[in-house]
Each structure stands twice: as C-alpha cells, then as structure tokens.
Symmetry: C2
Subunit: 189 residues, 2 copies
C-alpha cells in the first residue's frame, strides 16, 4: 500500500493483510500537473482523490466565466466533486490540481467494493464524511456570519501555510473577497 495512505489509515481502522491488499488494488496512483483539470464541469465524477502531494481546488464557473472556489483540499485528505461522485450525475463544479500533485484515485465501483468487503471500512468512511460535513457547516457559518476581515483572520489562525502557499487570486476567491481587499488585509496584519 502507498505509505501515505497506510499512515493515514493507521489508528483509524485495523486491517488484515488480505484487506490491505484489496485496498491497495483499489487505489491507483496518478500525477496531476499544475492547473490541470481532473474533473470537468458537466462530466460525471468517476473518482475520489486522496492527496499525497499537492492541492486540489473544487470550483464553480458562471456564464461569464467567473470562478468561485467551493473547497481547497490538501495533503492527507480526500476530495472530489462530491455530489456528482455520490449521485453519479454530471457535476456543476470542476476539480483542478492547483500544484504539481501526486494522487491516489478511487473509482466509484471500488468505493462500493471497499464499503461492502472490508470490515470496518464503512465505519472509517462514515466518520470521515461526518468530519467533512462538519467542515462544510463551518464554511457556511463563516459565509453567513463573518465579514472579509474575520474570514481572513480565521484562515490565518487555522491554515497559515495556505496563505503562503497559494496565489492571492485563489485565496481571495476562497474568502469571497477581491484581491485588493486581500492585499489590504495582508498589509495590515
């Protein structure tokens, strides 16, 4: 099994050698180039991605081509266009590799296989989804209750590396503010 995935699973699930082999056979290694689109808007998300290295962005594009970032996904997290992946329907969002990335892909059918065949996998997966759901609730909270300055400060406290790592354009878009406002907040700090 890929060492990053093995480490991620440690402490979360106890696996037999046979289970490990099955899991290993389900996750396919793939690299992503900087800015490569992994899932196109309008296509069906066939895979979920475990990020070994790099960063994924899930984003929406309106009729005028304006982009809005829904989520950013970093190392040791799973990400995909989730509604499309679960429902196997065309995605309203696109998924992009923001940096050169190393990913482990899990197909929809292999996801079903692991849920069915590996004892404890459903509990492990369910707890992960609960955490993702909690993160999305917190994102809703920040969108409905905070202004730009507060959102920036929370990001600075919780994910300072993100501000160093990603282009200002992406950060501003994730926070729902203009690049000018972001620059102003950065310089005030």
């Amino acid at each position: 099994m890929h060492p990053a995935l093995k480490k991620y699973l440690e402490g979360k699930i106890v696996l037999s050698a046979e289970d490990e082999q099955l899991i290993d056979s389900c996750f396919k290694l793939r690299s992503g180039k900087r800015n490569e689109i992994l899932i196109e808007k309008g296509s069906i998300a066939r895979h979920s991605f475990f990020v070994v290295k790099g960063c994924l962005r899930v984003f929406l594009t309106d009729a005028e081509g304006n982009e809005s970032t829904r989520f950013l996904i970093f190392e040791n997290h799973f990400g995909t266009a989730f509604p499309s992946f679960i429902q196997q329907k065309p995605s309203v969002a696109a998924v992009q590799s923001l940096e050169p990335s190393e990913l482990l892909m899990l197909s929809y059918n292999d996801r079903e296989l692991l849920l069915r065949e590996v004892p404890g996998w459903e509990t492990f997966y369910r707890k992960g989804i609960e955490q993702d759901y909690i993160a999305s609730i917190q994102r809703i909270e920040s969108l409905i209750t905070m202004d730009a300055k507060e959102r920036y400060q929370i990001l600075l406290q919780t994910q300072p590396q993100l501000i160093q790592r990603l282009p200002g354009k992406i950060i501003a878009d994730y926070l729902g503010i203009s690049q000018e406002t972001l620059s102003r907040l950065k310089s005030k700090k």
Copy 2:
C-alpha cells in the same frame, strides 16, 4: 414504532421485529412549543431530532444579538446542532422549534447503540449523512455564486411551501437578505 419513523425507514433498511423494538426504545417522543429553544448556544447537543411535525431552525447569534439561520429542518428529516452532537462539545449554534412541533429524540448514546447493534443501520445512516453533506455543499454554492434574487427563485422552485409557511424575517435571514429586499422580490414575482 412511531408510524412517521416507520414510514421513513421503509425501503431504506430491512429490519427484524427485534431490531424494530430496539429502535423504538431509542426514539423518545417530545413536543416543542412555538419558538422554544431545544438546544442552547454553548450547551452540548445531547440529541438528534427526527421531525414528525413542525419545523426546526439551527441558527447563530453574534455579540450584538443578530441571528443568522444555518439550516431549516422540516418533516421527515433529522436535525440537530450537528458538530456539537458528533463531537459532544459546546455548540456555537442554537436549535429552535419554529412552530408547535412533534419530535422523536435520539440521544448520542442511543445513536452509538443503533450503529453498533442494528445490521444495516450504519449504511442507512451513512447514506443519510451523504445527502445532508450534499445539501450543505449546495447551500455553500448558493452563498458563493448567487445573488439574493437567484437564491429566492431557487427557493421558490424547490420549496415554495416554505415561503408560505414561515415568517418573512426567517426566510430573509435564511437567504442572507434584508426583509425589504425579500418583500421587493415577492412583489415582483
């Protein structure tokens, strides 16, 4: 088992008579008065609620007492201050019964019991959480990509009964707009 819960479970999970009895013993009937607070901000959410009749509101309050509605939960849905319930930590949000309501309460410990003891319950529950997570992703999308008019039109298309049923103040707050803007949108229709 309460007929509303029995109907909700039909087609989602196959249960033995024994399992039905166990489930029945875990859900306690409780009524809620109009505007009654079921979970206080700062307390730990001890229960998840299945709404038999009525409507719940999950909302945030800032230092100045301004309220922001995170979710509205109607009949045949589960709801609680989810992050607090899962993590058993104090809640940043409060949960209120907006209308006179009839609820089935499931405690945290009984939730664990059902996940552990009832075959198929974890799969049933996991699929429910996936749908709730998808709904929250769609709420994020509407917040980051739509203006007030679009959000109102989506609500009108998907949940017209909500606009009839709830006070304008709550609808406006859910949409993140002022009551004046809501009145203007309503009259334009």
